[in-house]
């Protein structure tokens, strides 16, 4: 969406928006001191949230600030570790999303939750088929008729209820999903429902965004409450009545939308810069002349395009961007996991066309993946076998891998990285998240790769392990390796990297030099990301 179009859409939205005088004073929903622990890490450290009837509340924060986690707790998809929630003044503790629906809480999920092989009506009344039984069979005619009414309620009249969801485009699916959620909560019988919208606009065009705003306002005017999560601050500023800012699992504060502007929100979101020791800034190396990797006009169809950069020996290059900015996919293309649609990749000046990560590894390129459990470790294998995954052939004497070499290598890394384990033979699934991540790092370091792509290297590890991982990254550049980092937070990216590329909607929107003594401000970086 171009800047101008977006502005027009906003202008239209402003016209439809009404003054916030209709908001009730009683509390519809409140969450107090909610904490959530995954393994050893705290995703939420005691957050607060309050929604009044007729109010649209915006929720902003960087990736990993805890927005989605909170929504999942409210909808009953995950239980909180501690803390209480109330709805209509009564304790509220849904065990499943169905529970939440029955109490009048509905959510439009970030990932589309419609079943694409079913038709629109079947999706809208999914789980409520019993209501349409005529004898033993379902009265599809009645279901279709009611589905049409539900759709009309949110001003959708051009989608026949019998249409298969797989035949609809994403924007239309999103509208169906919203209609479905509206209906679910309507059936709960309460006057004041709570609707959660998690990034609903990411697949919508301007006209659809406009309609969405209109519907949101309409819903709010009926006395329902809405929680709206978006990475687009302009949207948040236009449609919400009040804004909560989250950072690192805590609520930084809330303010009325009329008192907020983008600069203020950026500042609240990024908070204070972390101390220099944390990122071992004294050990940040100055990149050398030699270019190890170069991307020329790199692109992946529909995801990102025109990505250009050079990666030097001893350099830590940061790729910053919110989910959907294309930064992660750049990483996947570079490591050979995905073939680029356009552009060229040069390794040490030689053009490369990787068809698998195996080929990339041969040229010294290796990725530490984002989802440790699903793509980083083999939990059925031992610590030593995991460490030797990428370099087994180098540990072979003749045709056979030397068990002794595997053991010695594992012992060396267990000692060097201080991996807490009962020994190299222990199965990896018995280790804690931080120690598993250290094993993944050991594997990457043992592989001898000179170009390391670190996709969220500190995801899901505790503070102590984080700092050790930062030190490891410094070790890598000391040895002349080149590193690309996709940080868990912008702060981390700035702290670790000597240069930053900022991406938004698949394009590079900015580049910052970040020498140890002159780091760019987070607000500057974040303002180009969102």
């Amino acid at each position: 969406m171009s800047e101008m179009e977006r502005n027009e859409a906003q202008a239209a939205a402003v016209e439809t928006a009404q003054p916030a005088g209709h908001i009730g004073t009683d509390v519809l929903f409140s969450a107090k001191d909610i904490t959530k622990t995954f393994g050893g890490t705290q995703a939420l450290k005691g957050v607060e949230l309050e929604v009044h009837p007729g109010e649209i509340v915006g929720l902003v924060g960087e990736n990993g600030a805890g927005k989605s986690t909170l929504l999942k707790i409210i909808i009953g998809a995950q239980p909180q570790t501690a803390g209480t929630m109330t709805l209509h003044g009564k304790p509220y503790a849904p065990k499943t999303p169905m529970d939440a629906n029955r109490e009048g809480v509905g959510m439009v999920f970030q990932e589309q939750s419609l079943i694409v092989t079913l038709n629109v009506a079947q999706n809208i009344f999914f789980g409520h088929e019993k209501d349409f039984k005529s004898g033993p069979v379902i009265n599809w005619g009645r279901m279709n008729k009611e589905a049409a009414e539900v759709l009309a309620d949110v001003d959708i009249t051009d989608i026949p209820p019998t249409k298969k969801v797989s035949d609809l485009n994403f924007a239309t699916r999103q509208m169906v999903e919203i209609a479905k959620v509206m209906n679910v909560t309507k059936q709960s019988g309460t006057d004041h429902c709570l609707i959660l919208l998690d990034e609903p606009t990411s697949v919508l065009n301007e006209a659809e965004v406009e309609n969405l705003y209109k519907q949101m306002r309409k819903i709010a005017d009926r006395g329902h409450g809405i929680i709206f999560v978006s990475h687009h601050l302009d949207e948040i500023l236009h449609i919400t009545d009040r804004i909560y800012v989250y950072k690192d699992g805590t609520s930084v504060g809330s303010l009325d939308t009329k008192d907020a502007n983008e600069a203020k929100l950026y500042e609240m979101m990024v908070g204070h810069d972390t101390t220099t020791e944390y990122y071992h800034l004294d050990r940040q190396t100055v990149p050398q002349e030699e270019v190890l990797l170069e991307a020329k006009d790199l692109g992946l169809h529909g995801v990102f395009k025109h990505v250009n950069f050079q990666l030097h020996k001893g350099e830590v290059l940061g790729l910053c961007g919110v989910v959907g900015s294309g930064a992660e996919e750049v990483c996947e293309v570079l490591c050979g996991d995905e073939k680029p649609s356009f552009g060229e990749i040069y390794i040490r000046g030689k053009q490369m066309k990787f068809s698998s990560p195996k080929q990339a590894l041969k040229e010294g390129v290796l990725m530490i993946p984002k989802e440790r459990l699903f793509e980083g470790i083999v939990s059925t294998l031992s610590v030593e076998d995991n460490i030797s995954l990428s370099n087994a052939s180098e540990l072979a004497k003749g045709p056979f891998v030397s068990a002794q070499a595997v053991r010695e290598q594992a012992n060396k890394w267990i000692q060097d990285l201080r991996i807490k384990t009962n020994g190299p033979k222990e199965l990896l699934r018995q280790l804690s998240g931080g120690n598993q991540q250290k094993v993944v790092f050991s594997r990457a370091l043992a592989s001898g790769a000179e170009i390391l792509l670190l996709n969220h290297p500190t995801r899901g590890v505790d503070v102590g392990a984080k700092e050790e991982i930062y030190a490891l990254i410094r070790n890598m550049t000391d040895e002349g390796k080149a590193v690309i980092v996709l940080g868990d937070t912008t702060d981390e990216c700035i702290g670790l990297c000597s240069r930053l590329l900022v991406m938004k909607d698949g394009l590079v929107t900015g580049e910052f030099e970040a020498p140890a003594d002159h780091k760019p401000s987070q607000v500057d970086v974040v303002s180009l990301m969102m």
């Binding site: 793509e375 059925t380 076998d385």
Partner: protein
Amino acid sequence: MSTKTTALSGGRSSLRDNITRYFSFSAIIILVVVLTATQDNFLGQMNLRNLLRDTAPLMIMSAGMTMVLLFGSIDLSMGAVCSVSNVTYVHLLLYFQDSGMNAAVVNLLAMGISLLFGLASGLALGFIHVKLKVPSFIASLGFMSLWQSVALLITMNPESVPKVLWPAVDWYKIVFGVVGLPLIIALIIILFIHCVTRFTPSGRAIFAIGGNERTARVAGMGVDSTKILVFAINGVLAALAGIFLAANLRSSAPTIGDPFTLKIVAACALGGTSLAGGKGSELGTILGVFTVSIIENGMNFIGVNAYYQNIVFGIFVLAAIALTVDRSIRGQIVK
């Protein structure tokens, strides 16, 4: 939360591992004790020799299947490939017998072509599974049906190895004490594969792929090439088993491999190889193979109708897998 679950699942898995480890071993002992006590001469030289000789083809095929299961796939076409190789081998012996070539050359030529067929079938199956991303279960089911028909098209009726070529297949009857040459060859093959899977880089990759294919790929392992290679080896092993069966009977039969499909899976499962991939071993499979052989031999010894035997194997497969399957992953059933 996490520490608690880890401890729990750790306890559960060790119990499961123990069941797996000792299941076939105890089954063998119980079966042998019961059969020896109730049947005269069960452990007689004659029966023991038969039992051990008949174990060879099953062991060869199970050795291959174990590798396939270890990386999380399955090959249901082995029995049919075995049949085609079996009829091809004997058919070629008959075809070449008047060509004037030396008997040994004729034998090697027929063997070579049969094994090449197995290689081609395995490569094709591996390619279809890996590159076209057809689930191995359905791809190999298709191959099974295909090769079953081809075997019948090559020869409807069993063909006999011509008398002049009997010396070429007599190696199968060489016996040292009660242990025949076929079993020795089979044991060498399975122990060799055991060493390959445990100690070579590509062999170890099999366990990594079975444990987490995505990790193996991102870590820079040749996932696709390893899988295709294993399917190819598997095809060759199935073809070799077909030649063994022909040498044993001195004749071919177009449906000879069919009952093996179930027995192979039974042997691997009883041996503790996880159908989900990543866990198991060729050594366990050796025990599984003997368990299956003893059950089969025991039923023959007692005189159980052949048609009832598959009922027993079916139940054994279900029981073995139900006992050993990993239920710790909620809501996910493999294949």
